[in-house]
């Protein structure tokens, strides 16, 4: 699966991907979400990890083809 990540959060996102549990949760969320319903919409989603909470802001494009964008990566220490 491919997501488009805003350039300023690219490095942070790649670092997060090293955490197996984060990728597992992200996959599960994207498998569960109804992409058709989310077209043209944005929302926040939290991923609770051992020491921090990762909050991703997702955007789903409408045209010309559906794409999953990650608009913001926010790391909150517990």
């Amino acid at each position: 699966m491919v997501v488009l990540v805003k350039t300023e959060y690219r490095a942070k996102f790649i670092e997060l991907q090293k955490d197996h549990i984060f990728t597992s949760k992200l996959h599960r969320h994207l498998e569960q979400i109804d992409i058709n319903r989310m077209k043209g919409r944005s929302y926040k989603k939290s991923f609770n990890l051992k020491k921090e909470v990762i909050e991703l802001t997702f955007e789903f494009t409408q045209n010309p083809e559906e794409k999953i964008m990650i608009e913001k990566v926010n790391i909150i220490n517990k």
């Binding site: 990540v5 350039t7 996102f13 597992s24 949760k25 569960q32 319903r37 919409r41 929302y43 494009t61």
Partner: protein, 243 residues
């Protein structure tokens, strides 16, 4: 004296109700039962149910090593499915680390006793001391933990059922999150996905609401609202990443 059949059956049902972390049987009663069932399993009329009861008594007495070695020895020559099932549950509950729990699951699916590759199902509670859920910067304190039915359907996949909710996780995630006492969060996370999809039912809402105060329930709903994106937004400053 050995327990009478009727009394024995009643005790067996009570004791085999599961392996809860806190037994309602006091240590004196457990000691008496241990003596009675030890006599029984050493007699000719012992059944595999008697063996299961004695093993469960060991578990309630926190004689975990004895619970494991006793069952290992009995399984070796009885090849009994229910004994193997009790042993597997005990190991899952007792092993502290994710890796060891995964090995127990692998053994469940590899062992010839489970030739049919039956899934492994057990009931548990998230049972956190102060259950809480993290949503963004906010924390929601739960008024009680969730009761869970865990159905491990393969070496890799498990299904979690709680109230009317049912969803799939990897076995790795299941045990890892249990180790971190993070299961309450997994349930609320799934519910948030249902809210985003607008696939939540009234039963789902009522069930989640049972576990938190009204203002926290509203917070979960507010957090799960999506907004419209500008159709003409410029997406040139984005990079593709394979996940």
């Amino acid at each position: 004296m050995n327990p009478e059949p009727q009394k024995k059956a009643q005790l067996a049902i009570e004791i085999l109700a599961g392996l809860p972390p806190v037994s309602h049987l006091d240590e004196f009663t457990l000691k008496r039962l241990e003596n009675e069932f030890t006599l029984l399993v050493n007699s000719e009329r012992a059944t595999n149910t008697d063996i299961r009861v004695l093993a469960t008594i060991y578990y309630h007495q926190k004689k975990y090593k004895k619970f494991i070695t006793y069952l290992e020895e009995k399984i070796k020559y009885t090849k009994d499915f229910k004994l193997f099932s009790l042993y597997t549950l005990g190991k899952i509950l007792l092993e502290p680390e994710t890796k060891s729990k995964i090995e127990v699951v692998n053994k469940w699916f590899d062992d010839p006793i489970n030739e049919e590759k039956y899934s492994f199902t057990y009931f548990t509670s998230t049972n956190s001391f102060k259950p809480k859920v993290y949503i963004g910067k906010g924390i929601i304190n739960l008024t009680k933990s969730f009761s869970l039915e865990i159905d491990i359907v393969s070496k890799e996949k498990a299904i979690i059922k709680t109230g009317p909710l049912e969803f799939e996780v990897t076995v790795f995630e299941l045990f890892h999150e249990m180790e971190l006492q993070n299961m309450d969060n997994i349930v609320v996370d799934y519910y948030i996905d249902c809210l985003l999809n607008q696939s939540n039912s009234t039963s789902d809402d009522n069930y989640i609401q049972l576990h938190m105060k009204e203002q926290d329930f509203k917070k979960v709903h507010e957090y799960s609202e999506s907004t419209k994106v500008d159709k003409h937004k410029d997406y040139s400053q984005y990079e593709a990443i394979v996940i």
